[in-house]
């Protein structure tokens, strides 16, 4: 069955309705334009763009990538051309191809988020939501450094929420202990969902040169290596029943996606897998639909958080 004809595959996160639970993670799919060469990416529940800031950012010193056992360390540092580039270069394509777009926003402080939101307000009718990147471990100001502070999370979320008329999602880091408190603050600020998890802080060292393998010394670990960490974080946060969760962190197959849904994800984010399998979104969606058919699951919502954990 074509996924678009299957009402049982649609999901709801607050007021955000996705036609299926497949969401592309920020930074791994650009705005979807390149991947549209490999399949019709308008079939996806949503595409989260790479994070755009008010002004262009040059990103971190290379090397920016290092492969580890079943994982990928990166220290890209959110290189991007600025929000105007998104508006003028990507948005026309996105509109024409009818991509379901979540815009990832990045600011170094609440003022930059506010200025950015004012710009985004002019194009918000083309977006299904915005995601606030409060969890990137690779930058000094903004990102995870903002997401660690409960008051800042609430303040930034509320500021953006007041300016925009579309739903706000907050992307959270696994590198913090007080996830329920941070999630509650995001909710108080007006967020309708959280994305969990961003990358795990990690490091690799070249034993011949004694130097770190990344130019930025440490980076963010993604890929199958972090999947158990992500599942546990999602499972524990879902129990708190604070906000719906877009679960992500090392999903490489439809079986992984089902695990994330059972752990408590209302939607699933695909990230690093996009680099390896350029048609991962389509394949994982097909796999979820086949699984539902085989198990006689009429509505994917019926199994969210239904892991039998006693």
């Amino acid at each position: 069955m074509n996924s678009n004809d299957n009402p049982g595959i649609s999901v709801k996160l607050g007021s955000i309705r996705l036609k299926n639970p497949i969401v592309m993670c920020s930074g791994t799919f650009s705005s979807g334009i390149e991947y549209n060469n490999f399949y019709d990416v308008s079939m996806l529940g949503a595409i989260t763009t790479k994070s755009f800031s008010l002004k262009p950012r040059e990103g971190n010193k290379p090397p920016r990538l290092c492969e580890t056992s079943a994982g990928l360390l990166n220290s890209i540092g959110l290189q991007n051309e600025g929000i105007d580039f998104f508006i003028y270069e990507h948005l026309p394509f996105i509109k024409r191809e009818r991509f379901n777009t979540i815009l990832s926003m990045l600011g170094s402080d609440v003022n930059e988020f506010s200025d950015l939101a004012v710009k985004v307000r002019n194009i918000e009718e083309n977006l299904i939501a915005v995601e606030l990147n409060l969890s990137c471990p690779n930058i000094e100001k903004g990102g995870m450094s903002l997401g660690l502070i409960p008051e800042e999370v609430e303040n930034v979320t509320a500021t953006v929420r007041k300016i925009l008329n579309i739903p706000v999602i907050v992307k959270l880091s696994p590198n913090i202990e007080n996830l329920p408190e941070i999630t509650l603050r995001a909710k108080n600020g007006g967020a309708e969902a959280v994305s969990l998890i961003n990358t795990v802080v990690g490091m690799a060292i070249d034993i011949n040169t004694f130097k770190p393998k990344l130019g930025n010394v440490t980076g963010g670990l993604s890929g199958p290596a972090i999947k158990p960490i992500a599942l546990a974080k999602i499972f524990n946060l879902h129990k708190e029943k604070i906000l719906p969760i877009i679960g992500m962190g090392g999903i490489f197959s439809w079986e992984d996606a089902i695990e994330f849904i059972l752990a408590g994800s209302s939607a699933v984010g695909l990230g690093t897998v996009n680099f390896v399998d350029l048609q991962a979104g389509k394949k994982i969606l097909d796999g979820i639909i086949d699984f539902m058919n085989n198990k006689n699951i009429l509505n994917i919502g019926d199994i969210i958080g239904k892991v039998k954990a006693g």
Binding site: E34, K50, E67, S69, F275, V276
Partner: protein, 266 residues
Amino acid sequence: MKLIKGEIVSNERIGNNLYKTTIFSPYITKNAVPGQFINIKCCSDNTVDPLLRRPFSIHDVEYDFKVFSIMYEVKGNGTHFLSKLNAADVIDFVGPLGNGININKIENDDFLLIGGGIGIAPLYFFAKVLLAENKNVFFAAGFKDGNFLLFDKMLERLKINYEIYSENGMHGSKGMITDFIKKRIDDFKEYDIYCCGPVEMYKALQNIFCLKNIRAKALFEEIMACGIGVCKGCVMKFKDNQNGYIYKSVCKDGPLFDLSEAVFEQ
């Protein structure tokens, strides 16, 4: 660019840890230009080691048979996996990728190609394309030792002038190919120059060309994740127009760049 499943026609060991894999693909042979690369999945289905695809430049194209080749040294898990494949095995790759050499924009008749180590691989394809256009090609190649001995035969078949140096004297003349270029640079001042090799070779060539105010193009490589310009992981530093610098993606903005614009960290 396309996601392709291509059948291996042959997988030959041509030196110590040096392999040439030939793959059937009408799409690649029709569309690839020199300097472009393919990004190969180097593990079995449903496994994740190694996790990322591995980029390989296109080394040769045989249009009549609709096959192309890659040449590689076995260095890690990805190349080890490839070296164990056999004829009739099918590999999963994306290509052709990157900003290669557009032969239609080339006006000069004389070309100097400088390859260091495995950097000869993409330049060999370029040499063949140039010869088909009746251009004059001089190939200068430098190696560490005698591991690329078969390369002489390949160049002889092309009937072009060439010079080979190796650091230990096992192949061609003893010494560095960059010293040969330095000595003979005035002979090549009117040539279009293309190079591919390790960073140390590029640094030496930059110095030589800078003194003579010669511009050259170079093919670069970096560790890549997506291979299609999405992730910004494979960037290198280049000079910009305002005396500053800019990070460019090797996979999409390159791999072909002006050598003079590259900024190498000390």
